[in-house]
């Protein structure tokens, strides 16, 4: 009997909720892949459920008081407000302009934090990152000490949004971009709109637009390219399109306590393609082993990938009978 569209929608919602709870295990991922492939309609329903979930992200610019359900009786609110006002005036707090204290955000290894900012902007902060956000009346400033964050900047022409990462400074009015700082290397990727970049070592300012990426070392430009899949971490994934196994392992090791170790230099230089869940180095290792003819060996928290050793193959030569002409 044909599955009803209601059943398909329910199953899609179930998967979206489960994937939101945390990365799927290898078994769960296989279940999902099988489910998705089982009926063509499921792909559309799943996309729709994902879109519905994503639609609610707009609420990040709201504060819980904006969605208060039971409105309190008016008189009580005014009385309470008046009392609070009185206290502030007495304490002289209303007369003193408040200088904004920077808000510090720090993520641990493997943590990817999605957080709204007070001005209505939104940030997704990557693993092992430390940054400070100062939002004032005339400007909005982020100081990135290390790591990476992607910002969707709420439009406010009166308050430019600035991210400072060592010698590099990125300025935007209303746009979305990511800045990464690891040691002396700073990388800026723009996903929406345009940004202006200043750098102490690069001379004049430079513009960067959606889809573009630029890399600085010690403030000097060393590479300009495309954003591509670099920001897949925001969704908890990594994409490889020809990077070597060594590069891929290094990426995974940034996010995980369980470390990948590649035993063979030739294996380490092999290129890879695919999308992976960055919190699951074990699944990645198994996939890589299949793609590159390697073997996975686990010792405690270390995942070893080595070239598979094979016994010498015996070649069997079969005599092929010449066809008879009829």
């Amino acid at each position: 009997m044909r599955e009803s569209s209601n059943d398909i929608n329910e199953a899609s919602i179930r998967w979206v909720a489960q994937m939101d709870a945390g990365p799927l295990s290898a078994a769960e991922q296989a279940q999902f892949d099988a489910w998705l492939a089982g009926d063509r309609r499921r792909q559309g329903a799943f996309l729709r459920a994902q879109a519905g979930w994503s639609f609610m992200d707009r609420s990040r610019a709201l504060h819980p008081r904006d969605v208060a359900t039971a409105p309190a009786p008016r008189r009580r609110i005014w009385a309470a407000a008046a009392a609070v006002l009185a206290v502030f005036i007495t304490a002289g707090l209303l007369l003193t302009p408040r200088s904004p204290r920077p808000e510090v955000y720090a993520t641990i290894q493997g943590e990817i934090r999605r957080t709204p900012l007070e001005d209505g902007s939104f940030a997704v902060i990557n693993t092992s990152t430390k940054l400070e956000v100062s939002l004032a009346r005339t400007h909005r400033e982020v100081r990135l000490s290390q790591g990476e964050a992607w910002f969707q900047v709420a439009k406010d022409p009166k308050r430019p949004f600035r991210v400072e990462a060592g010698p590099v400074e990125v300025r935007a009015v209303g746009t979305a971009f990511a800045v990464e700082r690891i040691g002396a290397t700073v990388q800026v990727s723009v996903t929406e709109g345009k940004v202006e970049i200043w750098s102490k070592g690069a001379g004049a300012q430079r513009g960067l637009k959606a889809g573009e990426r630029i890399v600085f070392v010690d403030g000097r430009i060393v590479d300009v390219g495309h954003v591509g899949n670099r920001l897949a971490w925001r969704e908890g994934r990594i994409a490889f399109a020809g990077q070597t196994l060594a590069e891929a392992a290094a990426e995974f090791n940034r996010y995980n306590r369980r470390k990948l170790v590649i035993g063979d230099p030739e294996l380490a230089a092999a290129p890879l393609v695919g999308w992976f869940n960055l919190a699951d180095p074990d699944s990645f290792a198994r996939a890589a082993a299949t793609m590159l003819d390697a073997t996975v060996t686990i010792v405690g928290d270390t995942i070893h990938l080595d070239r598979t050793r094979r016994a010498a193959r015996l070649l069997v030569v079969r005599q092929v009978r010449a066809p008879r002409h009829v």
Binding site: S5, N6, I8, N9, E10, I13, R14, V16, A17, Q18, D20, A21, G22, R40, R41, Q43, G44, A45, F46, L47, R48, A49, Q50, A51, G52, W53, S54, F55, M56, D57, R58, S59, R60, A61, L62, H63, P64, D66, V67, A68, T69, R113, R114, T115, P116, G228, N229, L231, A232, R234, E235, A239, A241, V273, W275
Partner: protein, 189 residues
Amino acid sequence: MDDRISVVGWVSSQVLPHEADVRRWLSRYPGMGDKDDLIQEVYCRMAALERVDHITNGRAYFFQAVRNLIYERVRRARLIPIEVVAELDALGASSDQPDPERSAGAQRELVLVKRLISKLPDRCRRVFELRKMEGVPQREIARRLGVSENVVENEVRRGLRLILQALEQQGVDLAVEPNYRAVGRAREL
């Protein structure tokens, strides 16, 4: 490699808000087949898109995709005479243009989302506030609310179901308050 993230984002902001209007337009032509089926098939085709940055008008794209699907089915079934198909085309084209009073700009979407959340059942609403407004992961929500992770995941399902149903029935029309009781007596988990 296609950018999966931008397809979902594009669908959520450029396509999903128009679904209610597409359904309303489809209900004028009951002979076209099961609405849910048609719409799921269109989403399925969208899922196969590699890029979406070349599509400037999601609403128009959605309507056209539904019309194309209907034409295909009509051609295959050969049941409906060609004049009816032409009429479909003419009437459908006018539905393409969004009512400027109702078109969803960012501000209006925010108001809609606010409303959608505020009308959710209590615990479900709290879960959505924590998850979507404050970005708290499900596991942490469970800890804060003193419930199991299963309960939180169930509330996510419940809320998403209600929200999708509301979008399907009322779309982004701000003149209509989301009425979750009227939509779906779907099986509660």
